[in-house]
Every structure is written in structure tokens, then in C-alpha cells.
Symmetry: C2
Subunit: 335 residues, 2 copies
DNA sequence: CTGAAAGCGCTAACAT
DNA sequence: ATGTTAGCGCTTTCAG
């Protein structure tokens, strides 16, 4: 059995109220009494019961985070940013992975609700199916912030980068490097980031007078293993592409490995640009758009805190800056 | 204000006990009453207060996990294994990163204690300084399992692989591939995995008649950025090594990149083997020892559950199998 | 400054 | 089968 304030009170011959006050550093207590209580608490190895306290305070300093996965660096870095802000403030973070499944995502969110988290930070799974669920959360005024993968039509707080702009820059870079038949391996259709990146791709081509050819655009998803299928399709085309802009680094890496396998040289035979700048991409010399992952996490945490503290839902969208890192995968020597 | 069983009871004109029984699916209740309660609960959007329940049950189904980092694939995979077992059973997992700092690790553990987790799974930070802390936990009979990085002299549950054996195999492989001056970039001195891998390295050399040269062994730590320093040292030696066995993949990758930078060819001029088989190492063609990460997590969770259920500390060490993946970084064509 | 007492929402005897 | 009641450990009025 654990030691409670009752035990301390009894041992000291004082009331539990006094002990409680000593513990919570209340001003209305004699310094001497407090010291005696603290001393005894230490001696008896007292540990406050957090559930009793939460029950009283109706707040548990728990924040839920739901991400699609946390095996690759991207979401872990966001999570670190979140914890960096929240942990020092005494918040605990419950991390859930939806494993890119909307069903699991729904379970995670319900579980977090059951655990009465003070708020949630979510990056939605690639199917982006649970609009109704998050709408309900919003209606119930549960503080909620979306990061990276969002629902555009939901009045919620959001942390994103300008996918359109950075996709545009990536494709523009390929054009300036001399590539002309630029393909795009896009993510899942309903994913927020997919749409922005596709439009950026199309707009860059158009602006540089390259007609957009829908056959060079294929939705493959966001995982490395699907890249092979996409590449096979692109290479089967009559007019093969000379460069590929991939929706993210895992897909770009999948493409890279498959190209190597087939003896197609990067960047000479095929230019390649990814998105999100993974460590693996970096060592492979893959050009990529770098997102400020830690900062995204920090900002998401701050925006959530604001909502919790102001007891008010925030519908602001914060657009952070990004950066195009050019490496050898898109630096053709001659063409 | 949230709806409580009291509200439901009042709305239905019944007692709170009946409502409580309906909620917990007690057998001693009329089916019809239960349905009416459940119906009303749904209508009123009732959500059970988990703190009140925990206060009553003195159990919160919370498990704490402390890992050194979760940016690279390794610990995330272990964590996924843990969650795979624990989540379906209704446990929530609190994930903390010690950021390879013993001080942060101590804070994390204390925080988890404060949150009254039912148990902890820990992989200690590379300094391995908090022996006293974990000893206290063990003395207080808090269920605890170490994974991967352990304290050998603490009577605790442990999930590991045979570092000695697999380091031996890695070095043996280099020897059989024709390398003779094999160096070892080792991890932090007090880290459990470091010791086993060093001994495996030494024993393999000895068994194959290659005298162990202490100058070819250097403690560099476990992070990619320190590899450069280690390599610079090794290349400054009079008798330069022709192969390097690195304590883990990050270090091996750091070495790989630096070798490339300097125009030293892998595997022809320098053989290279890592440890833990990272995705990045994989795409670089780095030979490495693969650890069963998911399985380690699953087993750790199971061992912890056992302790929780049996209310008894377990001091078993479970040694899982591993695998040496040979890739081109150690496949010299000729020598 | 300290104590008595009520109550947070729920469960589990104990009654009926 | 249902209701009554006493806590779980803590905080917080309200008295003194």
C-alpha cells in the first residue's frame, strides 16, 4: 500500500488539509510546519496520487499525438519538437501511430479521448477518411492542431508548409537543370499534401512553357515500396520522362534504387527530386525540399497550448518556411 | 461540464449504482435496464471519467518507455513492437526520449513514476549512469524491463541479442573476405553493448591468428557525427587498417561518407561492417548485423506484462537471435 | 495558520 | 435486480 497524506497527517498529529497545503506550497502555512511535513513525506517515501489530483483538478496534463508512422525520421522529429515545448511545462505526450490506416487512426483518437487528453496534435493517415471524427472533436471544443497532413475544409488550427510553392521550386529547378520531360509520382489522392504538390508541379511546367502531360503524373502513394510500380509505369511510356519529381523522399529513394538496379544513371539519364529531405536521401545525394520538422512540432505544441489556455478553438493556419536542397541527383553535367 | 453517471441516473430515475453496473456490463442487471442506460448514455454523450476509475482501481494501464532517441529507425521499431502487444490490451504507452543524456533519463523516469505507470521499458542512455535510480525502482518492485542497452549487474528483466557472438561473426566475415588489419570503432565505454562487441571483435581476431592491436580500437560513441574523428585517427596510424568494424550503423555510415569524401574506396581500399542494419545503411550497401527490433519490443512488452500480472519481478535475460547481412561494403573482389 | 468537512466521479460491498 | 452507502486520495471552501 502506498503512503498517503492521511498517513503523514497521522504520523505528525496534524490534519490532512495541512499536509495538502504543505505539499502544494500554499502560502497560508507556517514555514516550520511545512518543513516538518516535507521531511516526514520524504522519510515515509510519499508519492502524491496523480489520479486523485486529476479527479479534483479535472486536468491531467496529457496531450495526444497521432501520426501516420514514426519509423522514418520525419514524424519523430516533429514529435521531438512537440515534446520540447510540452514536457518542460509538465505535459505528458501520448504518441500513437495510425500505421497509415484510417481505421487505426479512429481507434487512436477515441482512445485518447477516453484518456481525457487536454488536446491532440494530428497528422492524418494517407487515406484521409476521418473527417467526421475530427469535425466532432472540433464541435466538442477539444483543442486540436493538424500538422503537415491536414483537412483543408475543417475549421481547425494547422501547421503546414506551402506545398504548392515548394513543389513549384523543385520542378522549376529540374527545368532549369535542363530536364524537359518531367514526371511526377504523386501521393494518395485525398491527402492534403498531394494536391498542393501536384498543382505546384503543373504550374511550374506551364509557367516555363512545358505542356502538362497527364500521362506523366501517377498517384503511387507515399511509401518506398510503391515507387517501383510507379517507375515501371513511367518507363513503359512511349515518351519516357527524363526526370522525376517524387511526392516525398521514400518514393524518390525507391525510384533511385530501382533506377540503379536497371542501370539507368542518375542524374544523367534521369533527374530526381524528392520531398522532405530524409537522412537516407541525403547520403544518396538526393535533391529534396527540406521541411522544418522540429519547428513544425514546436509550433503545433504552442498553438495547442494557446487553445488550452484560452479555452478557445483556434482556426489559424501557420505556414512555415522550407528550403530546396540541391544535390547531385538533379545536377546533370550535360544534356 | 461533463456528463456523469449521476446525470444519467437522474435522467432515468434510477440509482448511480445501476448505471455503473450497466456500464461495466455487470451480470446482475436486467438486460432491458442496461439497454435503457446505454441508450441514455449515448444520447447524453456520456464519457466515463478515467481518473475516477483509476483512483478506484489503483491501476491506470499506463506503461512508460524510455529510449535514448527515436529519430533513427531502431528504437521506433522497438516501440512499435511494444505498442503492438500493449495497445490491444488497453494499455497506453508513454514514450520518452532521454536524448542520450543520463540527466534527462533520470527526469523521464521520475516523471513516469509520478504518473504512476504500471511498469517501464528502458534502453539506457549511452552514459549508463543511473544505476542507482533503476536499482531503487527494482527495490520498490516496479516492473521494469531493459531492452538492448542494459545494466548487466542489475537483477532485472532484459531483452538483448548476443553482442559478443554477432560482433564475432561480423569480424570473422571480414577476415574471411581477406581483410587483415581490422579496426574497431567502439561505443561508449560503459554501455553494455559496447563491451560485448569489443570482446567479440578481439576473440574473432585471436581465433583466426590475428594479434589484437589496441591501437586499432577506439571508443568514439554511437553517433554518426563522431565517426569522422575516429576515422581521422585510424588513417593517421602508421599501419593503417584495411577494414573497420563499427559499433553501429550510424558510425559506419559516418565512416562511409568520410571515406568517400577522401576518395578511399569501399570495399576495395577499406572493408566496412556496421551493426543494427539501418535503412540508410541498406541503400548504401553496408554490411551489418540485423537485430530483430520489432520482436525485441514485443518480447519486452510481454515480459513486462508477466511481471505486472504476477506482481513479481522477473530477472530473466532473453537473448534473441540476430543475422549478419553481407552487402558490398565488405565484399572485396581482389586483394 | 490550522482543522473539519464536502466532494471530484466512480466502484463495490451491503442491503433490500 | 436495484438502491444505499462508504470510500479511493486529494483539494478546497468555510470555520475557527
Amino acid at each position: 500500500m502506498n503512503v498517503t497524506i492521511k498517513d503523514i497527517a497521522k504520523a505528525l498529529g496534524i490534519s490532512i488539509a495541512t499536509v495538502s497545503r504543505a505539499m502544494s506550497n500554499s502560502p497560508e502555512i507556517k514555514t516550520e510546519t511545512r518543513e516538518r511535513v516535507l521531511e516526514m513525506a520524504r522519510k515515509m517515501n510519499y508519492k502524491p496520487n496523480i489520479w486523485a489530483r486529476n479527479l479534483q483538478n479535472r486536468q491531467n496534463n496529457l496531450i495526444g499525438v497521432v501520426v501516420p508512422e514514426f519509423i522514418t525520421f520525419f514524424f519523430p522529429e516533429i514529435i521531438m519538437g512537440i515534446q520540447e515545448v510540452l514536457n518542460p511545462l509538465g505535459y505528458q505526450v501520448l504518441i500513437c501511430s495510425s500505421c497509415e490506416s484510417s481505421e487505426t487512426e479512429r481507434k487512436n483518437v477515441c482512445m485518447l479521448e477516453k484518456n481525457m487528453v487536454d488536446g491532440m496534435i494530428v497528422s492524418v493517415s494517407h487515406e484521409s477518411k476521418n473527417r467526421d471524427l475530427f469535425e466532432r472533436l472540433l464541435n466538442e471544443h477539444i483543442p486540436l492542431v493538424f500538422v503537415n497532413r491536414v483537412f483543408e475544409d475543417l475549421p481547425s488550427a494547422r501547421i503546414v508548409i506551402d506545398d504548392h510553392k515548394w513543389a513549384y521550386k523543385a520542378v522549376e529547378h529540374l527545368i532549369k537543370a535542363g530536364y524537359r520531360k518531367i514526371a511526377h509520382l504523386a501521393g494518395n489522392e485525398h491527402l492534403s499534401v498531394t494536391k498542393g504538390r501536384i498543382q505546384g508541379y503543373i504550374d511550374a511546367l506551364t509557367d516555363y512553357g512545358i505542356p502538362y502531360d497527364p500521362r506523366l503524373l501517377m498517384h503511387v502513394g507515399v511509401q518506398q515500396q510503391v515507387a517501383k510500380v510507379g517507375l515501371r509505369y513511367l518507363l513503359s511510356l512511349k515518351v519516357k520522362p527524363d526526370a522525376i519529381f517524387a511526392v516525398n523522399d521514400p518514393v524518390a529513394i525507391g525510384v533511385y534504387l530501382e533506377l540503379k538496379e536497371r542501370g539507368i544513371r542518375v542524374p544523367d539519364d534521369m533527374g530526381l527530386v524528392g520531398f522532405s529531405d530524409s537522412p537516407t536521401g541525403k547520403v544518396l545525394g538526393l535533391s529534396s525540399v527540406e521541411q522544418p520538422t522540429f519547428e513544425m512540432g514546436r509550433k503545433a505544441a504552442e498553438m495547442l497550448l494557446w487553445q488550452i489556455q484560452h479555452k478557445e478553438i483556434n482556426t489559424e493556419t501557420l505556414v512555415l518556411d522550407a528550403k530546396l536542397n540541391i544535390r547531385k541527383s538533379s545536377m546533370r553535367q550535360h544534356h
